[in-house]
Amino acid sequence: MGAPTFVVLPRYRVPEAFDMVDMRDVCLSALKVGKSLGVDEVEAYVLDKEVITIRIANSQIIESKGIRDRGLAVRVVKGKAIGSAATTGLTSENLKKNLHDAFASAKVRGPAKHWTSLPKPGKLEIVPKLWDGRLAKLTVDETAKIAFRMMDSALGRGDKIADVSGSLNVVRESVSLMNNHGLDVEEKASYILGTVTTEAREGTETSSGFSFHSARTLADFNADQVGIEAADMALRSLGARSANEDKYSLILTPSAFGEVLAFVLSPHFVSKSYQDKVSCFYGKLGRKIVDENVTVYDDPRVIGGLGSKSFDDEGVPTMRTPLIEGGIFKNLLYDTFYASKDKVQTTGNALRFGGPIGRSCDPIPFPSPHDVSVKPGDYTVEELIRETKRGILASRLWYTYPINPERGDFSTTARSGNFLIEKGEIKYPVRMMRIYDNLPRWLNSVEGIGKEVSQVMPWHALPSITPAIKIENVKVTPVA
């Protein structure tokens, strides 16, 4: 089977230039230099990205900072030997040096026998609302005002809010990507991310609260809500007791389950993990692996999604890819390199993830989900709680890591917003707990799925869109 081919070559023109550097010219020059080196294939990827971050700690702004990052990443292929290089020095001299570095690295690498080709031009359907002119033009002063609103809305919930911390990130980026097969795409993206962590205090008692909100447009971002939610979680969590070490029904809010999706579930559906046999679902493609009420997609085409983009980081049009459908393992996530190993087509999942969100100028893309999306169920969170005899509601997980990935074992700490549930009612807040469990067991023990989804994203990790979820018989151990 050959390389993926698509029908039309569209050129998505950026409506307004974000950068003073002409990114297309850089790409064209890189292709020209590549051709002069006599390579078979060449790809040029230019990224221009600005991140403005306002950090809050001790209930005041402690840092206001920005990064303007421009870079070129190239891949060259000669006789199926693939080399790559990246540089931030966008002079013509550096550009030539970068191509030479990539070519030299290809020679060292040697041929990848499975390699087919860099992507051919495809039919590109633009995902709307990836770029917001208002967000793009947001000034430093206006950005600071939003951060102050996040903080002040938390402090405004009462004197018991003793400490507010968090951050506001505004990200604007523009990418241009070409290869010698005629692929030629450009896209701009904007993001706004706000997170607040609060500490409430009453006498010697303390508790913590957390909230995260994000949007692709300024109009869709609610700064007040971030602070209010975090403050209210901390206030509700005052007077916490230790939970007994035991098994409970565990209800995870979207924020909490997002940690599991990013750090535990996602890697098992990446083609590289599967090829290395370190996926706990290895050998089960096409088979039922979890409860039939579990359906999970990778969805980079949701309007407003943090992972939404029209094409992946090697220019392949993105698509909605089912990972689990009705409990059945449907697909792996591929870029062209790993797809060629399995002689299949890429799923458009080549990523060069850049913190805090968006793209980077990494020289090599890697297959990853864009935005893992869990199909909602029928329950409100209140109904999930009402139908729980003895359980725990957990709102923020932390230090979530796979331990034995080939088995799906993982550990995590429930950090904030934990509440004991008895006979369908929240009884009292509980302190931090450690959970040590197994992913296939969890997804085979799903008792209910919420009907409302949220966009969530853990610290320096991939985003997901998920409802709350209820898992049966989860052993928790108090840690404080």
Binding site: R55, A57, N58, S59, Q60, I62, E63, S64, K65, G66, I67, R68, D69, S84, A85, A86, T87, T88, G89, L90, K97, N98, A102, S105, V108, R109, A144, A147, F148, D163, S165, G166, S167, N169, T197, E199, S208, V278, P363, I364, Y399, Y401, P402, I403, N404, R407, D409, S411, T412, T413, R415, M432, Y436, N438, L439, R441, W459, H460, V479, A480
Partner: protein
């Protein structure tokens, strides 16, 4: 810097960098990915109206750098209007110096082709051990960095750094069981950091151990005397002693993501046995956390964090040193010009004692010896911890008896540190290639370690459920 002062900055500094990195991953004898990266740019920090502004640019033109200065000042001014506690900086002496890493053999004298050959030798050594080694990974990286630091106070330091590191990993599989063992070597310096350790022998041992684990039993669930090797101690020190020593974390400034410090307000109090001595020392040549001047231009020194079990000091920036009323101790680093410096570990370790490993072992009637580290699970105060080991041995009547797989050890910081009754003399600094902090997150290489130590903790298996 003149421009920053003209625009109203009470203090400003700039880091200008140019770097090159070469890295590859070899899998089962074939180079899977290879890349060469060059990077350049400048990061400007300005203290205006009592607060910090920072802006970085990857364009090293006068125009772009002056624009970065302007934006750093504007960012500070935009948020400085409501500052309740203006930033004060502890005084430091003005320095004009250079900081050059000692290199025995330059990276360019051992070209990437040679490094690939070394990796292939490691790979074939691992796969020769058994047909049950179904995957062998070798990754080698080599980085060079030129940096200039300059401040409005007149400090200027020119840095010339290089570092090399290697990771080998063997994955063994049989009858539904998969076991992996890995090891890192490397540090600041030249190519000797990966050629002087016997990486072929290390690769063989890694593969032999992964294969042996396929037949090993899981551990008992029991509170027992535990002897920890230097690699396990490295991660325990990193998570439970190093991170809580960062003064910004003690002050609650990392509460949003990375958590707080379990010993906040406990300076001068006992937090471990008399045998527990902990320091952070950037001056250790070869450690991945080596530097002579931090990213505020402060000369580095040993920070004595815990002395004879008593919490004595924290790692500081000039700002936190002023808050605590102490001398700055050179704790500030940024992972590149792109980021504002934060208080970070350099080489953080438990100091050696006078026990031999054999003496430690002899005293244990029933216990466990844990080797290497895998995954930490930590509460947000970094007090309660659970860290899995690469493998372990059961200790019975003073002897290592059975190899154990899938072992984790759990404890609570003060209880465990007070239980330490033996500290070895076999001190090592181990490379820790990925430490994350900040928002946006900054990944950084650090060194952590110590000698073998012995204490009491809960041993259990790592299988979920």
């Amino acid at each position: 810097m003149d421009q920053a002062s003209k625009m109203g900055a009470r203090y400003a500094d700039i880091r200008i960098e140019r770097s090159k990195g070469e890295g590859f991953i070899l899998e089962n004898g074939k180079v899977e990915h290879i890349a060469i990266g060059t990077d350049e740019g400048a990061g400007v920090r300005a203290l205006v109206q009592g607060t910090w502004g920072f802006y970085a640019t990857s364009r090293l033109t006068t125009e772009s750098v002056l624009k970065a200065v302007e934006l750093a000042v504007r960012l500070a001014k935009a948020t400085g209007v409501k500052i309740a506690a203006p930033v004060r900086l502890a005084d430091v002496r003005v320095v004009r110096d250079k900081d050059v890493v000692t290199v025995k053999r330059r990276i360019e004298d051992y070209p990437i082709e040679e490094r690939v050959k070394l990796a292939k030798d490691c790979d074939s050594t691992m796969r020769k051990v058994s047909s049950r080694i179904h995957k062998a990974f070798v990754a080698i990286g080599a980085d060079k960095l030129l940096k200039i630091f300059q401040s409005t106070e007149g400090t200027q330091i020119n840095y010339n750094y290089s570092k090399c590191y290697i990771r080998v990993e063997a994955i063994a599989h049989a009858a539904g069981l998969t076991e992996s063992v890995s090891r890192e070597e490397g540090g600041t310096g030249g190519i000797e950091r990966i050629t002087e350790p016997n990486v072929i022998e290390i690769s063989e041992n890694v593969a032999k151990k992964a294969y042996a684990l396929l037949k090993a039993p899981t551990p008992p669930v029991e509170k027992l005397p535990v002897i920890m090797d230097q690699d396990y101690v490295a991660l325990l020190t990193h998570e439970i002693l190093g991170h809580p020593s960062e003064a910004d974390r003690v002050l609650g400034r990392e509460a949003a993501w990375a958590g707080v410090a379990w010993w906040k307000g406990m300076l001068g109090q006992r937090i471990g046995s008399d045998l527990l001595n902990v320091s952070d020392d950037p001056r250790i040549e070869g450690g991945l956390g080596y530097y002579r001047y931090d990213d505020e231009g402060v000369p580095s020194e040993e920070k004595v964090l815990i002395k004879d079990g008593i919490l004595t000091s924290h790692m500081h920036s000039r700002e936190t040193a002023a808050i605590f009323g102490v001398k700055p101790n050179a704790g500030m680093r940024a992972s590149s010009y792109r980021f504002v410096p934060l208080i970070r570990m350099s080489n953080t370790f438990i100091k050696p004692g006078d026990w031999t490993f054999e003496e430690m072992l002899k005293d244990v009637n029933r216990g466990v010896y844990v080797v290497g580290n895998k995954i930490p699970s930590i509460d947000m105060r970094r007090c309660n911890w659970q860290i899995s080991a690469q493998w372990a041995f059961l200790i019975e009547k003073g002897e290592l008896t059975k190899l154990l797989r899938d072992v984790t050890v759990a404890g609570t910081a003060p209880e465990f540190f007070k239980s330490i009754d033996a500290v070895g003399k076999d001190f090592q600094i181990r490379p820790v290639p990925s430490c994350g902090k900040g928002d946006p997150m900054q990944g950084l290489h650090v060194g952590n370690g110590g000698p073998h130590i012995r204490g009491v903790a809960t041993v259990q298996g790592t299988r979920g459920v």
